[in-house]
């Protein structure tokens, strides 16, 4: 490890440790906000692992999240919770691999459209299966897992995602993805199996999102397909990741924290205008801060360093 890597590693550990103290001091608003932020931190960071280098915009996060949540909902009567989280992760990985195989050999537009419809497709199938099987549309998930535990679980998952991201960045796979992101033609003529590289990353990203859904299932206690497969989630993940900057591992978290605080305030104040505000956020990300906060920070710090 280089010196900056050790420094960044220590900073990360300290920040996570500080965050882990939140449930001890507050069990109301800040804990609930902490869970939201931790959820989106994990989702956005894992989204950026795939979409940052490849420039493929995935809107499948909601689908994977829903798969995780639903797996827990369906199986909670049959299997222990922890086993279900693992089962959910496996299902998520398999779905991601299948989607990746079908779409990632092709242009980005096809991928976006496919992932856009994926959550709704799975929801339609789930609803159809439920009605034909004659079961009720909602599922109860009653466990003794409390909010602080969910929060800590998310933090641990966050650390794991950071570690995976750091490891990928310094591995051949990360190098391959950077080449793919620059010029796919050069990549294939350098011997890179571009489809495989993209699929691996998409599977990692999708699996993490599935696990997040599975971890959050106990928080809801009653799961309906329209809640589990909400399309809004995928869009917010895209916005927070791009707002922070998808090119850096630490980018998304810089986007998630301010966005969630502001978003919470705005949705509470103007509950009927959330879609409109989401639209404005998208335009802001494209036109005002194309490289995200991370891009701004780096530009600013370069300038500072240039002066001294």
């Amino acid at each position: 490890m280089t010196r900056t890597e050790i420094r960044n590693f220590l900073i990360t550990i300290v920040l996570f440790a500080l965050a882990a103290l939140i449930p001890l001091s507050d069990s109301g608003f800040w804990l609930s906000m902490g869970i939201t932020i931790a959820t989106y931190m994990v989702l956005s960071t894992s989204w950026a692992l795939f979409s940052g280098p490849t420039h493929y915009i995935s809107l499948a996060t909601g689908a994977f999240y829903g798969i995780g949540m639903f797996t827990v909902g369906v199986g909670i009567e049959l299997l222990p919770y922890w086993v279900l989280v693992v089962v959910a992760a496996v299902i998520g990985a398999v779905v991601a691999a299948l989607v990746g195989l079908a779409t990632l050999r092709l242009s980005g537009v096809y991928f976006v459209i496919f992932t856009l419809g994926l959550a709704e497709l799975i929801r339609q199938i789930v609803t159809w299966v439920q009605t034909t099987m004659g079961s009720s549309s909602g599922l109860y998930v009653l466990t003794n897992i409390t909010e602080p535990i969910i929060f800590w679980e998310l933090l641990i998952l966050g650390i794991i995602v950071y570690f995976i991201g750091w490891w990928i960045n310094r591995s051949r796979l990360g190098f391959a993805l950077r080449i793919i992101g620059n010029d796919e033609v050069v990549a294939v003529h350098s011997g890179i199996n571009t489809a495989a590289a993209k699929i691996i990353l998409f599977v990692v990203s999708g699996t993490v999102a599935t696990i997040v859904g599975a971890l959050l299932a106990p928080r809801l206690s009653y799961i309906e397909s329209s809640i589990a497969f909400s399309p809004m989630l995928s869009f917010i993940v895209v916005i927070t990741a791009l707002l922070g900057g998808a090119q850096r591992l630490w980018g998304p978290i810089v986007g998630v924290i301010p966005f969630m605080l502001v978003w919470d305030f705005l949705t509470a104040t103007f509950p009927n205008q959330t879609t409109l505000m989401l639209g404005i956020c998208f335009l802001l990300v494209v036109y005002a801060i194309p490289n995200g906060f991370a891009g701004l920070i780096e530009k600013y710090s370069h300038r500072l360093r240039g002066r001294t």
Partner: protein
């Protein structure tokens, strides 16, 4: 038979919407994910004109299409042209325009929601049953189909038999060469984008005659239009028309034989099959 006719009636309007998107994606090279919202805005416009001023939806197109043309022209100028100019590569333009048009689509939804509210809407216009082969169809459905067919035919003739249509096709094939023969690519792109919006809004007015809609249903139409365009092959107008009917049949078949809740699943199944076996579309040529 029932499926066949239902499919044809549905496919007609789909063809029109998909041609709108085809103009925007094939010529102006903007993957417009706000396409469905323009359609829904057209539906709301028709509703408003019908309930407020007793103007029938066919006549309403005469007002709505030019309005949508102007609106989309400005959307292109304000939001999309800057992206075209700053894009260093086609990939970057693709990503930027996807994000930007997502933003625009949400703003559309938000505004429609604020103006009309979140309920489902429909209005009664010519809901007289009409029997074909022993099966009753609403006259409004048939009129919508005929209207869509006429508009699509006019658009096709315009594209293939006029100078301005030729200009559009030239830009669609190779913008750089079109520039060499004196075509203003930027203006032609803006025009194609605006025209695509106008066609889509007209489609929205036709659909509102027989279908219920709400402020947030646009994305469903965007998906369908996109699937049709990909199924038929990008830049292939004839392919688009055939693909629209294929999707119309597939959806009607699934809705009648299995469950009306699975129409999107049917569309997706088609989509997956195309992606796996013929990614260039049914009528698309293999790119070099």
């Amino acid at each position: 038979m029932e499926i066949l006719l239902g499919g044809i009636l549905l496919g007609g309007t789909y063809a029109l919407i998909a041609m709108g998107l085809q103009l925007q994606y094939g010529v102006a090279r903007i993957m417009n994910l706000a396409n469905g919202e323009v359609l829904v805005a057209g539906s709301f416009g028709a509703l408003w004109l019908f309930t407020g001023a007793q103007i029938n939806p066919i006549l309403a197109i005469v007002l709505l299409a030019p309005a949508a043309y102007i609106l989309n022209y400005f959307i292109y100028l304000i939001f999309l042209r800057p992206l075209v100019r700053r894009a260093k590569s086609e990939g970057q333009l693709e990503v930027d325009s996807i994000l930007s048009t997502f933003g625009i689509s949400f703003i559309f939804i938000g505004l429609l929601h604020a103006i009309f509210g979140g309920e489902y809407f429909n209005y009664e216009y010519l809901e007289i049953p009409f029997e074909i082969f022993g099966q009753a169809y609403g006259v409004n459905r048939i009129i919508a189909f005929v209207g869509a067919a006429i508009l699509a035919a006019l658009l096709y003739i315009w594209l293939t038999h006029t100078r301005s249509g030729l200009r559009l096709r030239a830009v669609s094939v190779t913008p750089s060469s079109a520039r060499l023969v004196g075509i203003d690519v930027e203006r032609t792109s803006a025009m194609a984008f605006a025209l695509g919006g106008a066609v889509t809004a007209a489609g929205g007015s036709l659909i509102s005659m027989f279908d219920t809609f709400d402020a947030s249903i646009g994305v469903v139409f965007t998906m369908k239009a996109l699937i049709i365009v990909i199924l038929g092959g990008v830049k292939e107008i004839r392919g688009t028309i055939v693909a629209a009917f294929i999707l119309g049949f597939a959806e009607t078949a699934v809705a009648t034989l299995i469950d009306p809740g699975l129409t999107l699943a049917a569309a997706f199944l088609l989509f997956i099959l195309v992606l796996l076996f013929r990614p260039q579309g049914l009528f698309g040529r293999q790119s070099s």
